[in-house]
Symmetry: D2
Subunit: 337 residues, 4 copies
């Protein structure tokens, strides 16, 4: 339920109301909008007399949050969530540009690419140290060694770091090195992992599952936010359809839909979304034109020898040209890049 | 097969080679590129000795056209096909903007909307007179009366006309009034209809089927072109996926894919592709950013009372604002609108 | 609307009520169930005062037919529709077994296969004379010549004939030779064709489209039945999904769903549904176990040389063994084969 | 690679060959077929000179395992894997019938249902103690308390236990109570979890992901088997398609496909596969007719008050009738139930 408090109500009164609601066994989340405190009270609420709550002093009104997702909905939190990471404010007027290799492969590779993407305008470096691979016999990533390299390469170039965490047991380790914890598409409904990153102090990048509806994706974000971590960035990366020409079907329709339903920022991964280098640029441009808050792009200086996903990685020069085009398109929507 | 002739070969020699190929029972299609005549020889060619053809005087080389689609492939015809209709050259640097109501409903409606879309920058008017409806009990369109109204409203505003033809028997009738014959998504593999519009003198707008792969879509275009009508405009309008929030999933990945595989122009229908008015603008912008050659958009001055598809029709003012945004995005790609 | 008449009402009173309803511009369809006449009144009914109709003498009650499909719903017609063709009563306790080649290729082929499938227990022969082909360069069928061969081969073996009609203009021609007019998956929403077979005197086999929901499939059947032809057999033949191992995903869930929603018989085409010979038997058995009213199976005595679909055709001996297994499974459900 | 050894080769020679292969850094798996030892050597094998291996004494031949999945393929292990659990041999001629509630809810519920399903012919009891739920606010299961109840209820009725494990950290706990560790559809590509159950001493039931191709499903099984646990039972439970009438589309085509590609047993979950009680019976019958090795079915004595999935649970009497029908269909395929 959404409990709207009276405008200008003092903090101690707000605290009292929150405490009374907690005593029903509800989980209490607060936001403010237009000078008014708003309390989202979620959980099993069968026994609560909401008519009585409505009459409590300080309570302006009580409304049902209509969607199955509550805390991530615009109905609860009407204004855009902005998440600050390094020099970047994800969800603000400025687009978030994340770039880097699929996998961290070694020192030279990480530093070369970090320098290139920083020069081109990225503010966050991506790179995998733990890689989810369909085959148990494929390269699985460098592990902690990879995280260390990624951190050093990013630091040397003034970049923040986003990297994937694949298991609930690894969250503390990855959080030690990365600024943003990425939950991959295959783990979008790994609820043990969602719970764990929901307790982390770091922002989470939540990729959409290959067969996840937009509602299910937002429900997975709700799993994280309901644990207390409100810093969730959504990432569209393609869904599975009958079309086989592209690796996945990047669903850009999801961008305006998510922006309407939720206050969370949403970015796009055109590299996994298409799987084909010369389709990344057009889909990256289209993502921004559709209203995305940023991009996460695979860039490699030597993609022919990449240990994973070489065929979809941009060359540094292609990435630089793309960022230039993105800037102009961003301007059409009153944004910068 | 693709038979490349020697540069500068005279027309009579070219004619001779074409005639000899025809004698094998093949269908012969010609294009020119880089000062060189190219002959696409298609059909049942089991008995042809292509080694011998290679040695004919005037023949430079013989190559297999790799894709299952032949005449619509870039391998056969490397440069972009441009189709002139009224003031518009579809596939040129200038974007093709088509707009109008879902169905023609009456004189006032048709004239009001025609004036509005012309003022906003459209050059082609869309409007249905024969409507494919899931229910036999829904409004089926005004038929020939609707075509007449559409023609008059378009003429009064300097617009060309695109309208759907649903049956092979109706092709001559629709071709009497429309400048472009639209084949709808449900009829993308209605081969009798494809054959008939393949014999028409008018350009064809071929919508992608809801479950059609890009390859099947191009194969349907091949059905038309192989009958002699080379003026085919492809139109992406959404595919069917598990996602139910939007009516269909507009597949913008198809735009760069089609531009690589084929020389035919490709436009996007964001109205049917999303089914939701406030998603049309973002997806229209994204379409152009992805490289589409134009748009076909539903516009209605009174969508609440439209006899079909009101919920996805833009108001004239929204359309006008959209065309302005499109112009800036087009500039990023070196195009105009 | 469903107008239930009083039990035992005389024919002339029933006729009067039907006439009065027709005067509202409604299309009137009648069925009887449990000694009670039921009138389905469909069409644009905005102006009708149904409260007044309820009070007409002879009218027991008036109900809204809930689904978008009306005449094909069980709500209108509660008992199973049975369609007699040759020795077969499709939809009865006895399963309908249809078999034959994908395409009719010649006299010897047609007669050989007809004899084989008749011997194995089929009562209806399938065979294509007009073939919908993705490529314009593939074998398109023998046309009328093929229909003649099919008719003669079937007659010589006591079989009825089902064959595809691809265009509204061809309906009279195909109806001259075939006992059942097949509408293929690609034409499931070719409304001009549905209208035309809706006026034919022959039963129609309506295949489900590759991306058609069950509701849309039933709506296409409604298009036919609303024209007056109530003899429609539905045929599940696989839908398009992301899975690529099988050509299509045969959706057997549709069988119990259709049996609940509609009174029309529903059969399964495991040949197109899987596209792989050794998967046809298992899926045919599963179809009957799921409650299908019959099967349509491709059988060829020399599939390696078939002009189409050889890879999914059963050898005659395989078909014979399959029919034996089907008989036992049918028994579990109280049916015969 | 598949290394086939000479017939009748002694164990010590086999051991020597295995050791030499291990020294290349390969992981070695052995099976025997037709009196011949077969070694599957998997892992990064770039540096191995297989021509030389072919010439080793005792080696009959060396073949490439063609599919991306190696150890789970029939090419490696030609005969059916049979997994013994309690009174049941999964993958044998006798069908494996698993049944029970969606969630364990309490003592009375668990014991009532256990008795009912045992009486009807089930040999394995299903029941969730840790429940993956789309909403963080839904019932999440009773946890270890639920596992204890499940174990006691099963033991009292001579049943084995299958229950879901949702996180790598929970494997030892669930393995303490359950005979079979279930990996749910949402976790099919949770590689940390697959690795952990790959080290467990208990059989694993691996459900197919909603958007998983058959190949990806087998690759996930390969993740488990490559860790040393060869006891994997595959479970088809429906894939996600555009069809919305049923909760999922149960893909029975997968049954004959998996039986051809892999030696692992494959069962079907018609309860989640359809989500509708009266569709469970038809699809369960169809599963067995298609060749499945067993079923896992939700049964509840009071489904209207179930805490999860009541709408798809069979009543005990329905389950009993179903098992009877299954027995007859099993007989058609030379099996028992």
């Amino acid at each position: 339920m959404l409990v709207l408090l009276e405008r200008g109500l003092g903090e101690s009164s707000i605290g009292d109301i929150a405490t009374r609601l907690r005593m029903f066994g509800l989980s209490i989340h607060r936001t403010d909008h237009g000078g008014q405190a708003r309390i989202g009270a979620v959980g099993e609420n069968a026994g609560v007399d909401w008519g009585a709550v409505r009459a409590w002093p300080g309570v302006a009104s009580v409304e049902k949050l209509p969607a199955p997702f509550k805390l991530v909905s615009r109905a609860f939190h009407p204004h855009d969530t902005i998440i600050s990471v390094g020099r970047c404010a994800i969800g603000s007027r400025q687009l978030a540009i994340m770039a880097g290799p699929c996998s961290v492969e070694g020192e030279e590779q990480a530093f070369t690419i970090a320098a290139a993407v920083a020069r081109a305008g990225a503010t966050i470096m991506r790179g995998g140290a733990y890689k989810p691979r369909t085959s148990p016999y494929s390269f699985q990533g460098l592990g902690e060694e990879g995280l260390k390299l990624l951190r050093r390469a990013a630091d040397a170039n003034g970049l923040a770091v986003v990297s994937e965490v694949m298991d609930s047991q690894h969250v503390p380790l990855v959080a030690r090195y990365a600024d943003i914890l990425q939950v991959g598409a295959r783990n979008m409904q790994n609820y043990a992992l969602l719970k764990e990153v929901g307790h982390a102090e770091k922002p989470v990048l939540l990729k959409r599952g290959l067969a996840a509806t937009i509602e299910e994706w937002l429900m997975s974000a709700e799993h994280i936010v309901s644990q207390g971590n409100t810093q969730v960035v959504l990432c569209e990366r393609g869904i599975r359809t009958f079309e086989t020409y592209t690796r996945n079907t990047l669903d850009l329709n999801a961008i305006p839909v998510v922006k309407e339903l939720s206050h969370l920022p949403v970015i796009v991964d055109p590299s996994h979304g298409t799987g084909i280098r010369n389709k990344v640029g057009p889909m990256a441009r289209a993502s921004i034109a559709a209203g995305a808050d940023g991009l996460i792009v695979e860039v490699h200086h030597d993609p022919d020898h990449a240990l994973s996903d070489g065929a979809q990685s941009l060359y540094p020069e292609q990435f630089e040209e793309l960022v230039g085009q993105i800037r102009t398109i961003a301007g059409v929507l009153g944004r910068t890049a």
